[in-house]
Symmetry: C2
Subunit: 552 residues, 2 copies
């Protein structure tokens, strides 16, 4: 068996190591265009900021080590120029000597990754405008920062963009973020990003949403970023973090199928349309685990798994990739945002029926010091209760709840299962009723009909002439600090005595701060014969949709 692997980072390196474990006899050659293999992609922003102080920490392994330990023939600074599928050989170019040569293969794995987009904006090639993909990029960015940058502009408020923002601020650089969409972190539902946007503002970051760069101009001390809004932003450093495109040229030149967004098409065994050629990682189109649709999800975890599975299949194992859930997480200063499975916008786009609930629990028992707040949104099938997706934003413990929900989605579990989960509780780690249980109670009550719920948007967008009667069941102090428009205030503890104030002919929408008192109020009203429903997540959810203008 002669196996060639094109690309030596996440998916390619995993495939190579796995292949060697499966076969001592195989000839395995890894071609890597850059000088490094298997570097810590996700750590690059923290090297710029200084949290990762030593550059060699970013080198997960070296070509020498792969050779000594795994008997791999690793050729760095070496690119593959073309694939001859009929003759089963590739044309290789040594980037140092310029020498070209051929290598035959029995099996070939493509792991070329994805390249950061550089949109054709005037001035985009000016010095000082960077994308971030590898150590070469990070060296140049860090060098520029080390030489002194006062102002930076980050175009694109995705994961890498915001990680760089945090690290620039850490280096004392006044940083502005320009994002085309009207929210940060586009894979998330917009309302879930409100706390992140407010937190960025509180940390001094300038956030320009629903704006984009029209051109870049050379200025006396750097670059002028010219927005479509005609605003001009001076900067000595500009980062483009506006997405990636699969590196599919080798594949398309060889006539392999790619999807509409450029991802190399593979089957469940990671085989391309040529069964002797596999493809893994950011370059491929994968099946969305929840919707079943083809999608592209550039994430390190799935890339590693795909590399492993491709090697498994090549060496005769019946390995199958289950699809990608899109579990992702990002730290933004003191907050964490994480998601798994489908977002609400994906469900809307794919016309999938769903319901959703919000809870706003503390990450551990409130009686123990240090409890941090989180908001957790869960999407589920309105008939079976099957989990479809989850998003969370907050402080400590966000990662744990998303991981728990990721497993539950993979297991095909329902919101009813969340009620029963037995999670580790002592006051430093959780609550006797964990946030996961809470969200299970709320969603299950909705589906069982015992806890009717309305979404904030539905209540506020009720058609004219049919507005619900909105009751705020919090205390008068809470009410005074901010409330839904048109709400009347009847604290829950007074509700039983004031039922005569309720209308008989309209739906009553009740809410409290997070949903718990509203739930009890809903139960009281339902049993008294009223058509009542609770607003999911209460005033805290309202605030996600209607942030205070000052970002407070």
């Amino acid at each position: 068996m002669k196996l060639l692997i094109i690309g030596g980072v996440a998916g390619g390196a995993s495939a190579a190591a796995r292949a060697r474990r499966l076969s001592e006899a195989a000839q395995i050659i890894v071609f890597e265009r850059g000088p490094d293999v298997s570097f810590a992609n996700c750590g690059l922003p923290y090297y710029v900021g200084g949290e990762i102080a030593q550059r060699d920490k970013l080198l997960v392994t070296t070509p020498e080590r792969l050779k000594n330990r795994f008997k791999l023939d690793v050729r760095v600074r070496t690119s593959v120029e073309a694939i001859d599928r009929v003759a089963k050989k590739v044309r290789v170019r040594d980037g140092v000597s310029g020498r070209e040569y051929e290598e035959t293969y029995d099996k070939l794995i493509l792991a070329p990754g994805a390249a950061p987009l550089r949109p054709p904006i005037p001035g985009i090639d000016l010095p000082g405008i960077f994308t971030l993909r590898n150590l070469y990029d990070v060296d140049r960015i860090k060098d520029r920062v080390d030489r002194g940058v006062k102002q930076a502009v980050v175009v694109g408020a995705g994961f890498i963009g915001l990680e760089l923002v945090e690290n620039f601020m850490r280096r004392g650089i006044a940083t502005t973020v320009v994002e085309l969409q009207d929210q940060v972190l586009p894979p998330f539902d917009k309302e879930m990003t409100t706390p992140i946007a407010e937190h960025l503002a509180a940390k001094g970051v300038t956030l320009l949403l629903a704006q984009s760069a029209a051109s870049f101009e050379q200025a006396a001390h750097g670059i002028k970023v010219c927005l479509k809004s005609e605003q001009r932003l001076p900067a000595q450093l500009v980062i483009l973090g506006v997405g990636v495109r699969p590196e599919n040229k080798l594949a398309t030149d060889a006539g392999l199928e790619v999807g509409p967004r450029g991802g190399i098409r593979v089957n469940e065994h990671l085989q391309t349309s040529d069964q002797d050629i596999y493809a893994v990682g950011d370059a491929i189109e994968v099946k969305d685990f929840v919707t079943g649709e083809p999608t592209q999800v550039p994430l390190a975890g799935p890339a590693n798994r795909q590399g492993r599975l491709a090697a498994d299949h090549i060496f005769g194992r019946a390995a199958a990739y289950r699809g990608t859930q899109g579990t992702a997480i990002v730290r933004v200063f003191d907050l964490t945002a994480a998601m798994t499975g489908a977002s609400e916008k994906t469900l809307v786009r794919t016309k999938r029926e769903y319901r959703k609930v919000y809870v706003h629990p503390a990450h551990h028992a409130g009686y123990y010091p240090g409890a941090e707040a989180m908001t957790l949104k869960v999407l589920f099938d309105p008939h079976s209760g099957k989990l479809l997706g989850a998003q969370a934003v907050g402080g400590a413990g966000v990662d744990k709840r998303i991981d728990v929900l990721s497993v539950a989605i993979q297991a095909g579990m329902t919101v009813f299962d969340l009620e029963e989960m037995e999670l580790a509780y002592s006051p430093q780690y959780g609550s006797a009723k964990d946030p996961i249980n809470m969200v299970g109670f709320v969603a299950s009550g909705l589906l069982r009909g015992e806890h009717p719920q309305r979404d904030v948007e539905t209540v506020l967008a009720a058609p004219a002439g049919q507005p619900p009667f909105v009751v705020d069941v919090r205390t008068s102090q809470e009410f005074a600090a901010g409330h839904f428009p048109m709400a009347v205030n009847i604290p829950v503890d007074e509700l039983r005595a004031r039922l005569d104030e309720m209308p008989q002919d309209r739906e009553i929408a009740v809410y409290c701060q997070v949903g718990q008192r509203g739930y009890l109020a809903t139960r009281i009203l339902l049993q008294a014969g009223f058509a009542a429903a609770n607003v999911s997540g209460g005033y805290k959810t309202y605030r996600l949709f209607h942030p205070k203008p000052n970002g407070a």
Copy 2:
């Protein structure tokens, strides 16, 4: 519907609140012997130590609030003396006035909890010897500590015992732990408690294992704790944390069935042998979710869930309790120990077939600062790979991995599913190959036969005449710092060139530090035709079974 609930803490309070939500019309009376309802049981040790500074933080709710919000008739300092099942009434005693009266019921929920054991040791009733169950107890313990304690003895190294130890040390008290078993935290497998025992020693705690108190004597300045070993321990404060027994007197007096260890027997709906009487919480016998055997597991989470389910069933819902997994967690100074499902000793006791693996990963990417070590042990069915139990000990992230495994066990997942899990990765939270994936790779490789493994105990206990050839594949420096007896050192990178040193006629057991290099070495040897196996978890697992005498 007239519902009486006996006990107003975790299970009783949950049942009462749930019952009210389900029925505004029901008459609900809660009898609580003590002065408080629904207090933060699991927070009590931290009030002694001062981390929880205000006593009222421990009061989750009050009788007044339950009355105002939930229209509950809560009668504190009131005990139920007897149940008349035929007449469906109870005899009640007002603890303040001494008045006795009767209340009839349609349904009755018993939530009396479990009482700390006070073994019949001479001198056990001396002043200064306490158990910890409620606010009354914690007030007395804290008062004694506040008045000045130099030395304390904690009898029993279970969860509550070790939590008190930490808090006594925090208060500057020299603390000795006396434990009957030869390990701390008896629900865990012994080797998994080695890091905890070493950590306690490092923090200055005196640990006396496999020892017990024979008597307590009054001394000039406190108490003398006399051990069976004839050792004498002076103390001004003694805590008994040697277990609990279900409060079953009311139940047994009324002729309700109890199990061999005293737990009130219930069916899946939490009904006792009298279908109008339910029982929940620490007083009941539950089904072990993994083994299916009856057991008693005093935990707050399950108690709350049972209370809720009992109310559900009373009000006509087809609720069923799935059993208890025994997910538990404890912080001991800077370490965390957590478990879920069956322990190895439970599997041995119940004669269940199993295999096990150990991994020793960092809690997040090693290239990012602050990665903390953990040891994770997973038990699974040797045929199907179905997960049976898991234990973890370490720093940050232990709680997350045990929660993930708890969900996987509840979902009936296998070790093969762990390979595929898509968990949230960025360098602050995990790794591209999470510890959960790692344990999945190791266990799945074992079951697929591509990664044969031996347990440390098996290798060391091999019958005379058939010892395996033991190869340490770490570096010579690592070997010099400590190794298996009789191991020869051949670093993995030299192994391919030194195959002629391997015996043809014996099994070869290889090991490294955590198992990863050992895995590659095993693959190399297997493919060269040798009968090789890797020692699961490597030298780090060896150290769990063979701690260094100095606790280093």
